[in-house]
Symmetry: C2
Subunit: 360 residues, 2 copies
Amino acid sequence: MTTDPPRVLTIYDVAERAGVSIASVSRVLNGHRSRPDTQDRVMSAVRELGFVPSGAARALSGQLKEVAAVVFRRAADSPDGVFSDEDESLMFAEVLNRGIEAGARARGFDLLMSSVDVYDHSPQGRIGSLAGKSDGLILHDKVLSAVGVARVARRIPVVTLAGTATEESVNVRSDNAFGMRELTSHLVNGHGYQTLAYLAGHVDSPDNVARTEALELVAADAGAEVWTGEIWRGNYLASGGAAVISRILERALPLPNAIVCANDQTAIGVMFTLAQHGIRVPEDVAVTGFDDIPVARHLHSQLTTVRQPIKKLGATAFDALYALITGAPRPEQDIVLPTELVVRGSCGCPFEPAGPVLPS
Amino acid sequence: MTTDPPRVLTIYDVAERAGVSIASVSRVLNGHRSRPDTQDRVMSAVRELGFVPSGAARALSGQLKEVAAVVFRRAADSPDGVFSDEDESLMFAEVLNRGIEAGARARGFDLLMSSVDVYDHSPQGRIGSLAGKSDGLILHDKVLSAVGVARVARRIPVVTLAGTATEESVNVRSDNAFGMRELTSHLVNGHGYQTLAYLAGHVDSPDNVARTEALELVAADAGAEVWTGEIWRGNYLASGGAAVISRILERALPLPNAIVCANDQTAIGVMFTLAQHGIRVPEDVAVTGFDDIPVARHLHSQLTTVRQPIKKLGATAFDALYALITGAPRPEQDIVLPTELVVRGSCGCPFEPAGPVLPS
DNA sequence: CTGAAAGCGCTTACAG
DNA sequence: CTGAAAGCGCTTACAG
């Protein structure tokens, strides 16, 4: 019946109300052994007061913050019209984050999300600050160099996605080589295509390297040509894929039998630009993707691609981080999840949509 | 040249290395007055050591955590096929979050993102924990009841989005009434439609209430009928819109001249289901949305809708929260941003796409 | 099982 | 402008 002061509550208030010491309150709150009636009194006091412990104080006393920081790159709004809100479509990174979220939720962790601009070449500051606010870091592809990762990983647990494992950090990726081998084999052996162009992602990303190599290997085996090089260089974005095709067509360069895109997003740009020029997929040229992002099945024509278990990749990354944080048995340094070829229409296979697709 | 122990660095290490007291280190780090040479020595030590201050300790000493928590609802995967990864498309909430992020970035804040399941009716626990880890909360629509908001807002700064302002919290919303009046007037006065159905969102959400009222008012003025009621009740999701239309058609109930959807996402489901049944938009029935989410312009037919400044809404919410946190002059309790009618083809207007749209 | 007390790593009056 | 010291709100050996 007394009006409590609007001051923020501490464990002392709870202790006073429950008639016990702050140590007991702390123990009950953390589920340590204590007499049932002590528990009751503390819990009642907590409930009546609406007490919420200070995360900062817990963390300072050596407890976990129960926060994992996730860092990813976000494209600045690109200037060119059509794909200018490319970053506003749900792509790979977003699905990945949902997977991480699912993993985090299961452990009662919250996620500190931090995007760094594509053009920010020294996100060290941001990442340092995140390290101070979290128990561990999950870094998407291309956020930090291997050296940068190694440095940060010495201070705080780090898991990279589609990166490279270091001495101290764990990497989670999917089996790019397997997926690309299956896809390439389908194209050259299944369809008999003789010329494949590889529309690359960031040339130095491990994913991109692995995909190129697998493609070239299988194609060489089957005696098919692979076109690569400067002009076929994209950036994992739809706008990049569109730009490459525009350039090719402008210069009236020949098209291959199939354009193998580094990822689905690139394929979206490619198919769009081809359509603009009246070039039909797959009749005039086959196009394939990589990832199987949700929109892939709503495209025209429906995209043949390699499915990565995107959400699972995210959840696995969190689990690995959690193991690192809690000092559980160290997870493998390089965790590889399986991929799967998904044949739809854009490779030239007859394809009947399994169900209705979104109106478009 | 000595190997430092792998122990985590503190301000004491920096002080020792710089040959000053920890107080001086703290001052330099926080940009307070100090002699240039003190600054230099401290900064050098910080750099050489790679020191990152403990967020927990700063927070415990009464400093800001520089973290804002954002809570939003996320639909659990719905069981029905077509829209089952509805939550995997970039919709309203995601764009809103990007706006919040932009605002936060400008102030050096990080965002603790936390989604609560649609069916979680007591997210108190999660929200309590977030309150302990952040300087303030931004709550999306329908996360907490007004009473719940009021309670939390007594402990920590709170800004709600599309909610209701309380004594302690600030609300940010857009001008639903204005937008809906414009839209309705366009339909009844511009097109002369006599019957409008309102496909509702969550019946008790303030947005939904405001939209219904505005619609009914303008329609009544023009002598047009508005159909509402149980059968026209949706849930802001595409699957909800689809379900309503399916039911209507199953029972062979009549269609109105125009279906005014509570939001764009609902309209997507509506247009999809109409198309399935061979009913043409806008020839057989006009359809409109609300929000102008990015995909709205890629739909067939292109959606006439009311544009909310979604990103700006998010950024404004953060700014209001920041004002609350820093004790700046208190922002208005109810901040209202303008809306704008966007006429495209789905209302029956002749409409020539301004530019190319995504292939589909 | 419980309480008194030290300690986590910072910030900030308070003297100087 | 600088340093010694108190204090932020918890957790956890250490005694009892």
